[in-house]
């Protein structure tokens, strides 16, 4: 193909403008804003590291940070475990597996607000299905208020998000499973390996690059959780289900503290970046590239 030096740039121009204006410049700008006190209505005031000092000394920040970690510790294993289990189930050569695949993926394409509302109704304390089932069938005397009790709210949010997105992890694992050369597992079976041995010593190691990838994107998804919290608990009761991403939203767009919220956003970036880095460093220990 013959083209002038300029032509490729013309092709990428719209995307390049978008990349600059909506990604790269904002990433830098929010770093700058994090050193200011700015409520949008009056001009920003440079305050140096004050926002970072304030947040590190604030018990609320540490509570929210702890919530973010707990949320990730619950959500990531849950969604990955579910995703892998579903992938293994629909990867069997059984009639109807395409149908089940379609069923399990469905929640992922539906509006999280709508499914969060359905769960809110199922989990509601007095008239909710879950608590009434617990009372009727399992003889639980006074089942908890799942969304109204600080002890449960964060877990409920993590569960609903895992329920909604497990179908996506399933697809990724499924793609990985389908890439595994069947002759390897068949050969092991002929040599007398049991199914669980094949799974532990062949399937899991061969799947590990995908598992690694799913881990990275699940952590990122976990750290930017906003919609499900907004629709399910609004971060409450008190701050029990407020994670860092939601706390950023509240500070920026409810209290209009753009500087403080930007400092929080950089803490979030540090958290995600740190975890991703640890992931990449630890990769050599357990990820096998065939």
């Amino acid at each position: 193909m013959r083209y002038s030096k300029l032509t490729p740039y013309l092709f990428i121009l719209p995307m390049l403008i978008g990349l600059l204006v909506f990604r790269l410049i904002p990433i830098g700008a929010s770093f700058g804003i994090s050193f200011t006190s700015w409520n949008v209505f009056s001009p920003p005031r440079w305050i140096g590291l004050e926002n970072y000092r304030t947040l590190l000394q604030s018990p609320v920040f540490w509570e929210v940070a702890r919530n973010t970690v707990v949320f990730a510790l619950v959500f990531v294993p849950l969604v990955m475990g579910l995703g892998l289990a579903l992938a293994l189930l629909v990867n069997q050569k059984l009639r109807g597996s395409t149908f089940f695949r379609g069923v399990f993926f469905m929640p992922y394409i539906t509006s999280i607000v709508a499914v969060a509302l359905a769960w809110k109704w199922i989990l509601s304390t007095r008239f909710g299905l879950l608590n009434n089932a617990l009372i009727e069938w399992f003889g639980v005397w006074s089942p908890p208020s799942w969304l109204g009790d600080p002890a449960y709210a964060l877990f409920a949010v993590a569960f609903v998000l895992a329920w909604q997105s497990a179908g996506f992890q399933m697809l990724l694992f499924l793609a990985g499973l389908q890439n595994i050369d069947e002759s390897l597992t068949e050969a092991a079976m002929i040599d007398g390996a049991t199914r669980s041995q094949v799974f532990r010593h062949i399937t899991l190691p061969l799947l590990s690059p995908i598992t690694f990838f799913v881990l990275v994107i699940s952590l990122i998804a976990s750290s930017q959780t906003f919609e499900v919290t907004y629709a399910l608990t609004g971060g409450g009761p008190q701050r029990a289900s407020t994670t860092l991403a939601f706390y950023i939203y509240q500070n920026a767009f409810v209290h209009f503290q753009m500087g403080f919220a930007s400092a929080l956003a950089y803490m979030l970036l540090l958290f995600v970046g740190g975890l991703t880095l640890v992931n990449f460093l630890a990769r050599r220990r357990w990820v096998h590239y065939g």
């Binding site: 607000v113 008239f127 299905l129």
Partner: protein, 299 residues
Amino acid sequence: MAEPAVVIDPVRDAEQARRRKRAISALRSGVIYALLAVFSFLTLFPFLWMVITSFKLPGDVFRIPPTFTPTLLFSDTPFANYAEVLFKFDFLRYAGNSLFVASIAATGQLVTCSLAGFAFARMRFPLKNLLFGLLIFTLLIPIEVTIIPEFLLMVRLGWLDTYLPLIVPSLMVGAFGTFLLTEFFKTVPASLEEAATIDGASPFAIYRHIFLPLSTPALASLFVVAFITNWNELLRPVLYISDRNLRTLPLGLTTLQGQYESSWTLLMAGSIISILPMILVYIAAQKYIIRGFMSSGIK
């Protein structure tokens, strides 16, 4: 006298072994089907409960123990909850807004991503790898990091309470879409391109008349993925839209929730209205959607 039990009969033994093997594999499929059924139930039940609740009389919702009868279906006005949500609470308009925003954003993404993907896949130019790397890198950045400057930019541009902030950012940075189409365009045989070049075709003509028609499946996948993502988007409508006439479905639904917190019949009817179009699209184009989302994850 010989004991009949020790008579070796290889045919019978093989038959028994085969039967046992078949029994084990039948048992195994049985267990797998049982697990599939349990997970399907857990997946589908919230949707079923949504449907049932949306067809109940408001008073029937607060019964202990809960009932599974869609009472409204047996009345003169089976769709009363839907009618109320659609017309009294303007969900018909919200659905139109969502449709408008999602179609424009998804169509726009096809244009920007395919143009960029063509250059990344088929041309050589300085900074190519750096730019492509930066694009992929931004996929790892949480939206919360970029949304504050984006909001301030929208304020400055005077775009609050217009559809523009819902459409433009999503339309212009389809990092995943660019990636998907770059990979797809790389698989197109070079011979096609060479033949067209000899005939004097310009790069744009090659892109327009050879690459686009060849990549209909990839474009379809990208379109549905982008459409669904935009249809379900909540954060940007929450930030940028306060005019009730411009609300999208997810925003309308959260607003309704704020106003009528325990009107579960209305909330569930509203939820069904927001998810039904996507489920229909999903059933019609499942192949493209699954392929699209699958490649959104695979390197």
